[in-house]
Point group: C2
Chain length 306, copies 2
């Protein structure tokens, strides 16, 4: 009975696609991934890519709820699911899902992203909200600070199952752009890493003077042989992540942060958090499957699916 497919779920981002077949209790019966991110789908033939990936599962499970999340719901994706404003919970997200009729005579449901305002400035996420929902299954009620590190790191505040607000930091992209294209790149050996230099960078973010001058200090440290090709990249990474942590914490340093992401990234953030006295728990991005299961359940509870 538990082997019956209740949900076919797709976490469909810019560069990759992950698929899950789940039973009614949310157990993953089968999964897979493909380098079929929305930017890699030829001629925007999203339905063909969809059928090619999960068509067999759908044939075998005519009653399964089909849910999708991620950039597939953006303006550049299959169909645009407008952002839902925070605060938002699973019922709100399910209620805002966009129905996409399929040629095979069923519907797929695309999760909306979330939007918020920080001091008047807008912010958005698309896909991460499903990972956050998945993490909440572990975390339970109460207040939580959740970080999804990456090219554009997301920091979400959750209270009793609702995403209250969030902020995105361009940390990963700024690191990449600076080490590839700025004067700092000349002093960085890309393959090198040094934990002490990384933690020195995290501490450097606490100094006076602001990020723009601390970036120049990376170069000056090179002139004074305080950083070299083996250490400069790790120091720069620590400096940027240190700034992200400072800004994300605001006035009140949290006791604990939940990290969601690839182990390579969450390990790095765990080191930085530990260095500033904050404990953390790390979850794999596959928690998205649990979040998509919750959305599918909510859709069924709301009677929106057949």
């Amino acid at each position: 009975m538990s082997e019956v497919t209740a949900t076919v779920a797709l976490d469909w981002g810019t560069t990759s696609l992950r698929v899950y077949r789940l039973d009614g209790a949310g157990t993953v019966l089968e999964d897979g991934s493909a380098p079929l991110g929305i930017m890699n789908v030829e001629e925007e033939k999203f339905e063909e890519a969809f059928e090619g990936t999960v068509g067999d599962w759908l044939d075998a499970a005519p009653e399964a709820t089909i849910v999708l999340s991620g950039m597939i719901g953006s303006r550049q994706g299959w169909a645009e699911a407008p952002y839902l404003a925070c605060p938002a919970d699973v019922a709100g997200l399910a209620g805002a899902m966009l129905e996409v009729p399929l040629a095979r005579g069923r519907s797929a449901w695309i999760a909306p992203g979330l939007s918020t305002r920080n001091d008047g400035a807008p912010d958005v996420m698309r896909g991460e909200e499903v990972q956050i929902l998945g993490a909440l299954a572990d975390l339970g009620g109460g207040d939580h600070l959740i970080c999804l590190p990456g090219t554009h790191s997301k920091w979400a505040r959750v209270s009793d199952g609702r995403v209250v607000g969030f902020a995105t930091h361009m940390t990963g992209e700024v690191f990449d752009v600076l080490r590839r294209h700025s004067i700092l790149g000349r002093m960085i050996e890309h393959a090198a890493w040094d934990d002490a230099a990384f933690l020195g960078g995290v501490e450097g973010a606490e100094a006076t003077g602001g990020l723009l001058s601390q970036l120049f200090a990376v170069r000056a440290r090179g002139l004074f042989d305080e950083l070299g090709p083996e250490t400069a990249g790790a120091h720069l990474s620590g400096l940027l992540i240190g700034h992200e942590l400072r800004a994300a914490f605001g006035q009140d340093r949290p006791e604990r942060v939940t990290l969601i992401g690839a182990a390579e990234l969450t390990d790095l953030y765990a080191k930085a958090l530990s260095h500033v006295g904050v404990s953390c728990t790390a979850l794999e991005p596959t928690v998205a499957a649990r979040g998509l299961h919750q959305l599918a359940q909510a859709l069924r509870n709301q009677g929106r699916t057949a």
Copy 2:
């Protein structure tokens, strides 16, 4: 009498070379410039480039003091003049000048750069110190905050003719790298400018959340049509300059700032400063000639020149 050449001065940077012929009172009798920055001197034949540029002046003025400043004194230049640690004044800088014997049987003198420490992190300048000396001729004694905006903006604190300390902000380079190589570049029309968007960016720097999240907000504002190709670049510029101002001011906002630089840049900074209630005076980078004159005079007073 005043037509006698007392000093031949060269402000020799990475990309350009400016030359001045001055009398004993510091009046510029003749000047010129060439795209002969140290990176453009073939096979590092600096003395040939030097003779080709000011050789005629030297032939006609066998007694003139020859002074040089800028990246020509760096490790990549003609001869390395080690950085002088702050605080430093004109006498200290002259005393630290490096003598370079010329094939023609005279000596040229290369100004050292300056170094300082901010919260333990090193910082350096090379060439700007001579512009600061030149500005002080106008400013007189007392305390001054001097800003040299650019790829790497310098903010120097001066007290009674001494450079007490300074900080470098990588503002111009970060702006350039982000608009060329980051996701923000896709939404920026490089040739466009909009003053209101620029000042909006300056204000944006005052918001909570830190620079890394404010950068992502530029993109999010694009998604919500609050910024477009015509305004996003100016907003980004304002955001970065706003952060530079905040960090440079520290706890105490100054009443007045002296700007030194090309009019295009000092106009921009003047707008940002005015917007946050700080008045300013702008000077041309050719104040370097006055600074070099002071160094030449100090060399003569110290009896270091023949």
